[in-house]
Amino acid sequence: MSETAKLDSRLELLLRLVESITASPDLDQVLDSVVRSASSLVEGSRSTLWILEGSRLVARARVEPRRRSNVPGRCEFALGEGLAGHAALERRTLLVPDVLADPRTVNRAFHEAEGLRTCAVIPLISHGRLVGVLELLTSDVADLGPTEVEMLTAFGGHAAIAIESAGLYADTERRRHEAETLADIARDLAEQHDLDAILARIAGGAHALCGGDVTSLALRDVDGSFGARFMIGARSETYRNFRVFPGLGIGGRAAVERRPARAAERAEWPRMPSEYAAAIDAEDLQSALVVPIVVDRTVDGLLYVCSRSSHAFSNADETVLVRLADHAAAAIHTARLFAAEQEARSEAENLIDTLDAIVLDADAETFEISFVNKRAEAILGYPVDAWYEDPQFWVHHVHPDDRDTAAADCSQAISEGRDHVLQYRMLAADGRVVWMHDMVRILSGGPGGRRQLRSVMVDITDRMRAEALLAGEREILALIAAGTPTAGVLDAICRLIESMSEGLLASVLLVESGLLRHGAAPSLPRSYTDAIDGAAVGPCAGSCGTAAYRKETVVVSDIATDPLWARCRELALAHGLAACWSSPILNGRGDVIATVALYRRVPGTPRAEETELAARATHLIRILNERDQATRALQQSEERYRVLVTHVPAVTWVANASLTSVFVSPNIVQVTGFTVEELTAGGTDGWLAQIHPEDVAAVRERYEALKFKWAPYDMDYRLRHRNGHFLWIRDCAISAYERDGVVYFAGVLIDITRRKQAELEVQRQRQLLTHLTRVATLGELSGALAHELSQPLTSILTNAQAGLQFLAREPVDLDEIHDVLNDIVDADRRAGEFIRRLRALLRRGETPRQPLHVNDVTAEVLRLLHSELVAHGVAVSTQLAPGLPKVNGDPVALQQVLLNLIVNACDAMRLDEPQERRIAIVTSRDGDGAVRVAIADRGVGLPREGVGRVFEPFFTTKTQGLGLGLVICQSIVAAHGGHLSAENNADRGATFWFTLPASNGAEPADT
């Protein structure tokens, strides 16, 4: 796969990962897809995601190749232990080319057994907090380049977001759960008087909310000790039965100190009698949280949650447990009151005031309030007197949007005489909107016999908020996943924030090269956002500019006075903006990409839930940013390809495996004159129809090989242009790849007509040159050749005249005449044969290749050179090996080679003593499947400056030579697939030899 294609598929991987994060809030699923993505970067790699739990890294998700050994791998590391622990402790990426050589490696045997040599570890950091590490182990260091590490870092960034996100979700879910449980218990308190049922429910709630292993609710008995009344999760009888005495054990401590007691681990439990320890150890408990149930200043019970692991309980658990203990206390108190049949109103009010609910009695017809508990003041902020003063107080303080419905539903139920439950919003004194869960009972026997109603209103705002926020977030994640434009998503995020908190105005500014750019602010006036757009980031640049500069949240509670707003104070005040809190949003590299700001029209600081809103918005915008980055990268890559495909003078094509669906880049029209549609309409056959008839068979064969064997090809063929002439096309099938289960082939077509013409021209020139050198050689030999021809002519003429002499005699000797004529015929044949040879050598162009015996070629050349050899006084000895395989060759060209070499040999011996002028020609086998012809002379030898020089063009020792003979010989031999070489002999002279490959399936030559 080419580098670009690899990058492209990786971008796609990243995009899919972002999609899977946005589509699924399930952490395990997301982490699973992170490790899958990571391991898919390198084949056969082992990818592990370690999550930080306390001070330990615990393997949470892993993808690994088939195990080779039984050596166990680690599932847990302490911080600073092993490579993962080091990367986590140092909070920086670790790339270890050879883990076996690294002293930090702890599990060498495992790595060795599994053949894992190279390791990259990416720390996962979210908002400056280490949440885990992503580790990739591979077998080859070459697999982990900078691109892979960059991709791993990107995956790690996503994993960090997902882990953080899961934490936030868990938190939100937990709050919702708490609010529901407490509301249920409050409803029980209002609706039933069965103490045991209520206490059992409280114990159950504590068990579920605090997540302990063993939960118990103990009540004080007459002797002052506490015995477990409700117990969940205990396994041992010892634990179930043991009693707690004040001052002993953790429960005893809570009873004496009248406040919650906690032990985070086994060693922290206070001193206790051995039977206590036995009971605790019987359950294997490690940590515990105990809250006293205080009724009338007396500790009447203990609410325990215990866990079999250390550090199980947090402050949040304690808060919940305390509230549950309060409920338990209220229930116990109520039960006592009922038991004593003392229904004194004041005590009832006390009881009612301990409830975390508004309890009121009102006239069933007029809703005029006859009683409201003190708690109402804390919940809605209005003094109790206000409730009594306004006869329509309740109706007037229901949220205007819910008022009519709530009143109507209530009246309807009252008219039907049934108890009922309503949910609606009320307006608090400070402007907050409070969601109420209102349980209404109809009581008879009010003053004057009028029907009364008793209403218990529980604040369920947290629960409703959590649900609304969750739903809003899901909608926005869906928008992100659906590819909604950035501006639209930012707008939706702002609207979600604003819907969650009355009076908030949300704004998102994007940070681009040090400037703030308008992102979204659906409720801020256009004149304000326009003025802000383009403001610079700086140390004193309003809330947003400063937050982007400092990379931390900036809270300005009063724009009118805060020095950070010095420059744009008037603008903000003119638009009625009084407070602004802004948080920077950082990407994975720590750069500020945007700010999210919450404005108020009255001065003030953010409430906890508003800070949380900003955090949620930040989270969503980071996900959005990841999406946009990935999308942009993909678009850029697509754009690059589009530009390449359009402008590169090559036609690109992609086809499916059966070649039934073919994409061809549109620039084919510039090459062939045909449009894509015209060429692909007829499928493969339509395409083949445009190919030169001589090339069709070869092309079809390659296509079949591609289809059935996935064999890539690179071939040249002629293709018809629309105007009728043929183009030379180079067609390469470059790669096969699989997508969604379908195999595709990709390739390019290049118009090589001009190159091909040039090649043909070069070939023509070479043939011409070959011919010229041949003619030149023959020219050098002209004397000898003339002599060679003159001999048979002499013989003919002389014989003819001798014959005439014989005819003139009587009696004519017919035998003699017969001999004369025979000799004339022979000589004439000989002359004809010689002329034929000469003509062949003088003819231009190539002779078709044919199976030849090198021995025959040698003999033919020697016949031709006979006179030349005689004229030089050169003796030739031949040693022609019998049974040589045939070679496939051009007979004239090979004769030319031998001719040249022999003439050169004669030439080299020009100055030799006559008896030294000897040439030895030896033919032999050259290994398997080749023959060798060597010509050895005893001449002056090759030049001292280098044997190779003789093969250089224009190198010559002759006065009249072109200096091309050997160059041409070399190219002829090379064209036959052979090799021509030379060396000096040990004693004197030089040997030239060449090899020629035997023709395929060549049978040995006749001997």
Binding site: Q791, T794, S795, Q801
Partner: protein, 129 residues
Amino acid sequence: MIDPSGTTSSPTVFVIDDDLAVRIALERLFRGAGWTVRTFASAEEFLQQDLEVARGCLVADVHLGRMSGLELHATLGNRDGAMPVILTSGVDDVNMEQQALRLGAIAFFRKPFEAGALLDSVRRSLAAR
């Protein structure tokens, strides 16, 4: 015209040519003219023979193996110099022709030659002895 039969021992024409067909043809031509003919494939072969050359004539090709016709001519001239030499050549080479004539060759014939002219030349050289 001299009738060869009228002589006690007919004069001998020595032919040296490396080409068998040429040798056969010349042998036939000279024999037909009534002379005794001895043929040789090379100058060396000719020199090895202890020949009665008193009444003879040599017809040799210039292009022979090791020793060329010219060299042979020179060698013979150095010995007793009496035998007339006629040279033939398959190559047009004016230099060689002039050199041959300068060395004292009777005639120089370029192949293929008119047999009549050669016979005349041989006849003249024999008569001159």
